[in-house]
Symmetry: C2
Subunit: 695 residues, 2 copies
Amino acid sequence: MTNVKLEESVWKSAYNCWLQYSDIKDHSRVQEYKKVCSNLVILDQSAIIDSAKEELEKGLFSMLGETPTISYEPQKKASIVLATYDQRTIKEYGVDYEDCNILNDDGYMIQSFDYQGDKAVLLLGKTDKGILYAAFHLLRLIQMSKDINNLTIFENPKNQIRMINHWDNMLGDIERGYSGNSIFYDQNEFTHDVDRIKDYARYLSSVGINSLSINNVNVHQVESKLITKELLPHVAEIADIFRSYGINTYLSVNYASPIEIGDLNTADPLDSEVQAWWSEKVAEIYEYIPDFGGFIVKADSEHRPGPFTYGRNHADGANLLGRALEPFGGIVFWRCFVYDCLQDWRDRKTDRAKAAYDHFKQLDGEFLDNVILQIKNGPMDFQVREPVSPLFGSLKQTNQVLEFQVAQEYTGQQKDLCFLVPQWKEVLDFDTYSEGKGSTVKSIVNGSKYPFQYSGITAVSNIGNDLNWTGNTLAQANFYGYGRLIWDTELSAEEISDEWVRLTFGHDEHVVEEVNQMLLNSWQIYENYTSPLGVGWMINPGHHYGPNIEGYEYSKWGTYHFSDCLGTGVNRTVKNGTGYSGQYYPENAEIYESLETCPDELLLFFHHVPYTHRLKSGETVIQHIYNTHFLGVEQVENMKARWEQLKDKIDTYRYENVLDRFTMQLENAIEWRDRINTYFYRHSGIPDEKKRTIY
Amino acid sequence: MTNVKLEESVWKSAYNCWLQYSDIKDHSRVQEYKKVCSNLVILDQSAIIDSAKEELEKGLFSMLGETPTISYEPQKKASIVLATYDQRTIKEYGVDYEDCNILNDDGYMIQSFDYQGDKAVLLLGKTDKGILYAAFHLLRLIQMSKDINNLTIFENPKNQIRMINHWDNMLGDIERGYSGNSIFYDQNEFTHDVDRIKDYARYLSSVGINSLSINNVNVHQVESKLITKELLPHVAEIADIFRSYGINTYLSVNYASPIEIGDLNTADPLDSEVQAWWSEKVAEIYEYIPDFGGFIVKADSEHRPGPFTYGRNHADGANLLGRALEPFGGIVFWRCFVYDCLQDWRDRKTDRAKAAYDHFKQLDGEFLDNVILQIKNGPMDFQVREPVSPLFGSLKQTNQVLEFQVAQEYTGQQKDLCFLVPQWKEVLDFDTYSEGKGSTVKSIVNGSKYPFQYSGITAVSNIGNDLNWTGNTLAQANFYGYGRLIWDTELSAEEISDEWVRLTFGHDEHVVEEVNQMLLNSWQIYENYTSPLGVGWMINPGHHYGPNIEGYEYSKWGTYHFSDCLGTGVNRTVKNGTGYSGQYYPENAEIYESLETCPDELLLFFHHVPYTHRLKSGETVIQHIYNTHFLGVEQVENMKARWEQLKDKIDTYRYENVLDRFTMQLENAIEWRDRINTYFYRHSGIPDEKKRTIY
């Protein structure tokens, strides 16, 4: 289960994440729960329901010290009743059939009722997946010490597709992984670490994830063979585990597969042999995995092969795969992360931010029904701050998912604390104005604004085979928060944070309050000491940790800030810049276009301004840079000091783990502060008003 | 001999470097040479003399179409006579014994004489090595089409130690190698490529090299075992080859060997077990290689282990090894490339340039007689321009060698043309004033200024297993030029260049003139388009090719230029800078200290000046930067165009090889020009007076 040999008591708290199932010390509370939880009545059968049963048994025994009895027929006594949406069963438990019509396929109802004096609770799913989600919900309530005797809960996930993408390579390394190596692969073999993979499935399911891709979107030589007979049995073994937790398995595929693993000399999507090759290939995959999800494709992006080689467009490319998958109900996720990654820094006209819109907007409506475009939240690449991608709201006839990055590639790499739920919420709540006011991103990606066949949200995983899954234990909150948020985008960051802290660390109010504050402020703090005012890319090229102010300035990546002795920032206005702001609907375009209305935090993303330009805050740009960078370091020092005060309240392993990370974060923050301040002081020649040390 | 399967005629010209031995077309010239060269008379026997004989047979047959007869007794007829310094033999050939007293161990005499009407030439060495050098000299004269009937030549090498250091790793890669992989190792095994290694020995010997180390100074795990019984037989095989060409073999060793390959837990130089371990180890080495040269050691430098770990100094460390080698006549090269490679960029007091002097000056006189300090030419690290290391002249009681780098690490990596002989000559001719005027570096390192037991010059090799040995065929000139220059430091760069061009490409005057000009101007051209005015380090970190103006600015390497909106450069004055200039004798210290007298080309090495500072040339610093960078690119364009004009006069293989490199160089030069100009324009805000394009 882990390479490190530690006493179970030591690693358990770190390993178990938010499914601690700690024994409840409050005796009367235990008695109250036992009145309901002593028996499980299971009225339907499936592998997924078995998972729900197993989880309830595990959780209840751990928390209450007692394993429930099991029966498979209705019992007239205190019990947790598991049932799928089935008129007969419902009526027997006095639930109104009409009430349940509102459940969708992944939805569930939790209903307390009184059965002749005995308390009981019904976990009712439209399908077996709903039961499993309801079981996790009930366990969460008990972990949270909530009353379970008066529940009437209807839960439908807001998003249909709730997905995680792994960027794991078969060698075992993870592209942008900060938590050890892959749990799936090692040395180009499958790990067959069934216990660990099953635990991962439990975590995913506990927060409602229903789709998973298990290999890197950059599909290298070995991984290209995942869709061959040699490796499919191993993929099927993994898919079996996830299936029991209501999760469909997907693979990233190499667009050039017909050449790389077939014997064709082309991958042209309009070539009939290529089409036939993919059809046969897909049929083969479904022999091994009957409910195989489909493909993730990164094509014509960052040197990956794609349809451009053959003079075809992305619709041609994606539809080729869609057509092959269609008979089996499979789908294609086609990534929109397409731009010129060999840009000449001298070229001031090309703007990488414009690329995804320019490539895909014109293809709206040309994709097959089982093709989904996968759109990163911002136009660049998961920076600490960027505007929302203008593709949202522009594509009205194309299935789409929003792509977040739970892995903290540019946001501290799980050394620095950066709880990303507040960032994600800003994205989801962003109003695109595509259909006038109220056309939020969340209403588009959840399929309510436009009638997409498929829609939802996906994200890059942040887990690996580290004992605690996420490197920094506090980064578990991003995994948890991602799942919870995309299940219910109306949850506040505060609610999600509070849930996670209590589930993970228990209910000591001092711990709860402190850790909540740390999480909720951490994104702003990280932004404070890193790239200012939305400009981005002042990070070390390649590994993307720590400052390198000009590291990307003369590169081929299309990522510049154009700082000089007078000012800084990228002019993306329509008036005299790259014209990027014009990709938004007028309401947003006007805001971004104008120096007066552009939000401070995105100022340098949209405008090149003098260092003496005054922000809405009243500060000049240069003084803002100095102030936020001094502040950011102070905030990290403060977080670290406050964490140290929690020493006696948190187990040693997790305490030390997080303390180590805060120590690294402080070192990183100081380096950022000093380099950024020095860089801009050297450029501007303008001293800090407060005369603090700048080198 | 090479991995590439090519017709012999194709690769021969590239592979044979300056030992082309092309057949001489001029019939009367051939007849004239044949009158002397039809017979070899060999009056002494040794493996080295066999090599001389073999080389003469090979060269004469190839050039004259006739293999000379061989006799081992004096013959009264036209002949080339090979003899060591032996009174009996000399007298027989009418040479005055007294005349030969001036020869040193590696010296030789070439004397024409008339033996009863027949022309003959005596190749006389003080030892057999002298004969071999004389044979190469005679062959060079014939290749150069010189008259050989009236020769009276006395040659003594100016330097006692004439060495090449390989930075080859056993995996086969070469640290800072730009010509393919190692000729000695592949995949952690020895190549046993006897033919190729022997040819390499011929090239080395032909230019007078007498010492060679065959593994990287950064001695990693596998290479640490080169001094074990497992690998010594293979080292001995290589040493056997070089021995026949008068070359001693050395190994770089890991200072922590007693721990790494022994079973001690310390490498403390004052520990008696450590001392005993090294004594036994050295004795073992000499069992395999009776004339083993000794060790090269990079200790306490860039994370290599060393005596500092045990609170000992470099003298303690070096003497430990010296003591072990002494009974066998072996010597230790102890590198002075020692500095803090974890410097904080905020620390403006520490100056890497001062490190070598600060470490070693105080130890002058404390090293054993068979310990040699190895001092890089400059205080930093083989930049295109830096001042001469102030250690030269400061160490008066310590054996020393000067270290150059033939490999073009920071000078274009054998893509860009950079003939380094002019740079090396500037270093050698630099007057340290250590004993008043005339205390040149060359007079110090050749042992004439101070009575060192050992002295000379060493350099990092630029060869690999590329067909043409050096990547860029024109980079062969650096290998040739290095050897010739350190043999005779009075040779001019022009003489050396002209020799190399004629030996390598023949005597077409157009080719000779053009290639000579390219070589002789190339260093200045490379300097023009790269780091200006001696500031250095504006190169890509890590691989060291191409521009990255701030790449080292905030790094740990102690390599900064401190450019800001007002000016640039490093203040190393005593008055208000780091004090580095005070490490020189007053005559130089005063020149460098003063803005008025500091040479333009080193201005930014010693001073931080405003962009508007006027150089002695009359230009401002900023305009100089613009002008030299535009000029540099024009000069590369011009070189490339002129090379293209030589197409019909140079064999296809070498023509295309060099053309490819000029194409790469032009691309590189343009990138340097644009980045440097943009960077300084953005910083200074001062436009180019000539209004050329700056991005």
